[in-house]
């Protein structure tokens, strides 16, 4: 992590934003923790991670960060179980503002997860968080640049549409009063920006160039940003 306090704080926020849902869901699915315990453990894990510098021991050459984080998390929970559930949240670390009800609602939509698929589920939840963060950032960016319509078209076609029944370009063009070629252009340009924003988010979540390239390759395949 950066030596600069402000930069360190921002990195921490990005990390929490990307990982808190996968962590919470992991606690509910892998450890079968009740809601309240899972909430406390999520908060407690982040508090101790910050207080004790869990993540400073991470080295990209040894494992992927998600694997490392999950190992830390499982170790943390196992310790909590051994110490009879007394949560140690770290001195003076404020509670994070996390929308656990939202995560709980998302959990309800998940198919039952087989024990052997827990690790894959954690990966999938992380990807879900990352893409959701990227979409939020992309929407903000488009609004700031006066390209809200481009984002709306992209959202309607690629995000909100039923994958098996996407609206046609002609229908979108009619709905928004634009030419079909505009729909094509909006989709093309916004998709390209989406890829770039995903990679930006990924860069924020990785410690080294090597790790970033590796993650980009795994996530998007063959990318050499």
């Amino acid at each position: 992590m950066s030596e600069d306090a402000a930069e360190r704080h921002r990195s921490w926020q990005v990390l929490v934003a990307a990982y808190w849902k996968p962590i919470y869901k992991h606690l509910r699915l892998r450890w079968r923790k009740p809601r309240e315990d899972a909430k406390d453990l999520t908060q407690g894990f982040f508090a101790q991670a910050m207080d004790k510098g869990f993540f400073e021991a991470y080295h990209p050459s040894k494992a992927r960060f998600r694997t490392f984080l999950r190992t830390c998390l499982d170790g943390f929970v196992a310790n909590q179980v051994q110490s009879e559930g007394r949560l140690k949240r770290g001195g003076g670390v404020p509670l994070l503002s996390l929308d656990f009800e939202l995560a709980e609602g998302e959990l309800a939509r998940l198919e039952p997860v087989a024990p052997e698929s827990i690790e894959r589920c954690f990966e999938q939840e992380w990807t879900r968080s990352l893409f959701a963060l990227a979409l939020d950032a992309l929407r903000d960016e488009c609004e700031a640049r006066g390209r809200s319509l481009a984002f709306t078209v992209f959202e309607r076609y690629d995000v909100l549409g039923d994958p098996d029944a996407r609206p046609t370009y002609a229908r979108l063009a009619a709905e928004y009063g634009i030419a079909v070629t505009d729909v094509t252009n909006h989709l093309f340009q916004t998709r390209r920006r989406f890829r770039a924003v995903v990679l930006d988010k990924l860069r924020e979540l990785t410690a080294t160039d090597e790790e970033f390239r590796e993650e980009a390759r795994l996530l998007l395949g063959g990318a050499r940003p």
Partner: protein, 351 residues
């Protein structure tokens, strides 16, 4: 933050995988297919005003080995100008950093789909098979072994032409030693340590893989490895399924290593013994028992089609008569008709 269900997530991943064609001569048209390491897109070459197929690397690429392989594939394709080998037009790196190559966009279907939908006559299937063999023989003559021949890697064009595709696992050999194909222009060639050697690694598709390939005995692979795969394709064309199948890749590999392929005539007695023998010879477990080259195999199948004797099958006198009768059916019928007419005339004169 919004909820993204798995199908949306997968779609977004695909969207993010789309090639960045900004500033290139290509315009995106649609997706054509996906392979193990790459996606193939239909793009419009705006400079020449035609559609081409753009193969872009998308698979996770630890250490850049797949990227190296794509470069190698493009260089190999550039060497192989043949009517039955898909021609390459361009190679390079996209603005998003990914390696691509552009090749002819073929309007047609894969060999397995063609067989299922067209249901060709046996001679028609065999003539197509000869074209495939000729393409492979051409590659062998240029020191290239394909190593992943299978029906899915052969396209049948709209006019019945066969095109051998996917040379990603191909290896270039020359005068007893392996040669490295130079890398891309940016790299200026791969240092020896960075070229994927594939040493001891089982690559290829189990059902069409030779025993030596299934053992991972890379050093011993030569043209006869492709002859084996061609034999398996011939088997597939005649039988509609590969010589070895199984519930898992491991099971198929085990059968390739230890079992003999089921006899073709055991399943379909209409298949001529001669064809079965050709197939068996191509699928011999020991490379030295196979045809020495794809050209030999093509010639053998050609001889069968022409009603000539083949090396793989020792004929009985009855086989010779049957073959000659079959080959000269029209002449035989005319002679028989003539003799019958003479008999009739003689009988009429006797009355």
């Amino acid at each position: 933050m919004r909820w993204l269900d798995d199908s949306v997530l997968e779609h977004l991943r695909e969207v993010a995988e789309l090639p960045d064609l900004t500033g290139t001569r290509y315009e995106y048209v649609g997706r054509l297919g996906a392979g193990g390491m790459g996606r193939v897109y239909r793009v419009r070459d705006t400079a020449l005003g035609r559609d081409v197929a753009l193969k872009v690397l998308v698979a996770p690429d630890d250490g850049g080995a797949l990227e190296s392989r794509l470069w190698r594939e493009s260089r190999i394709l550039a060497r192989l100008e043949h009517p039955n080998i898909v021609p390459i037009h361009d190679v390079g790196r996209l603005p998003d950093g990914r390696v691509f190559y552009a090749m002819k966009c073929i309007e047609g279907q894969r060999l397995d789909a063609w067989l299922a939908q067209t249901r060709p006559s046996r001679p028609e299937a065999l003539r197509l098979f000869i074209k495939i063999c000729e393409a492979v023989a051409f590659a062998h003559a240029h020191g290239v072994i394909h190593r992943d021949l299978k029906p899915q890697n052969v396209m049948v064009g709209a006019f019945g032409e066969a095109l051998v595709m996917d040379w990603g696992l191909a290896r270039v050999v020359g005068q007893g030693r392996e040669e490295d194909v130079p890398g891309g222009p940016q790299e200026g060639g791969f240092p020896p340590g960075e070229v994927p050697t594939l040493q001891g690694v089982v690559l290829g598709t189990p059902s069409y893989m030779s025993p030596e390939q299934a053992r991972g005995d890379v050093a011993s692979l030569d043209a006869r490895t492709d002859v084996y795969a061609l034999g398996a394709i011939l088997y597939f064309l005649l039988e509609g399924r590969p010589p070895f199948e199984g519930a898992s890749a491991e099971e198929v590999v085990a059968r390739v290593l230890r079992a003999e392929p089921p006899g073709l005539r055991g399943r379909d007695t209409s298949i001529p013994k001669v064809l079965e023998a050709i197939c068996r010879a191509a699928l011999a477990r020991r490379p030295e028992d196979r045809y020495a080259s794809a050209g030999e195999l093509a010639a053998e199948v050609g001889r069968f089609l022409d009603g000539l004797p083949v090396a793989a099958y020792r004929e009985t006198p009855w086989d010779v008569v049957t073959r000659l009768l079959s080959r000269n059916r029209t002449v035989v019928l005319l002679v028989l008709a003539y003799l019958a007419m003479r008999v009739v005339l003689l009988l009429a004169a006797g009355r």
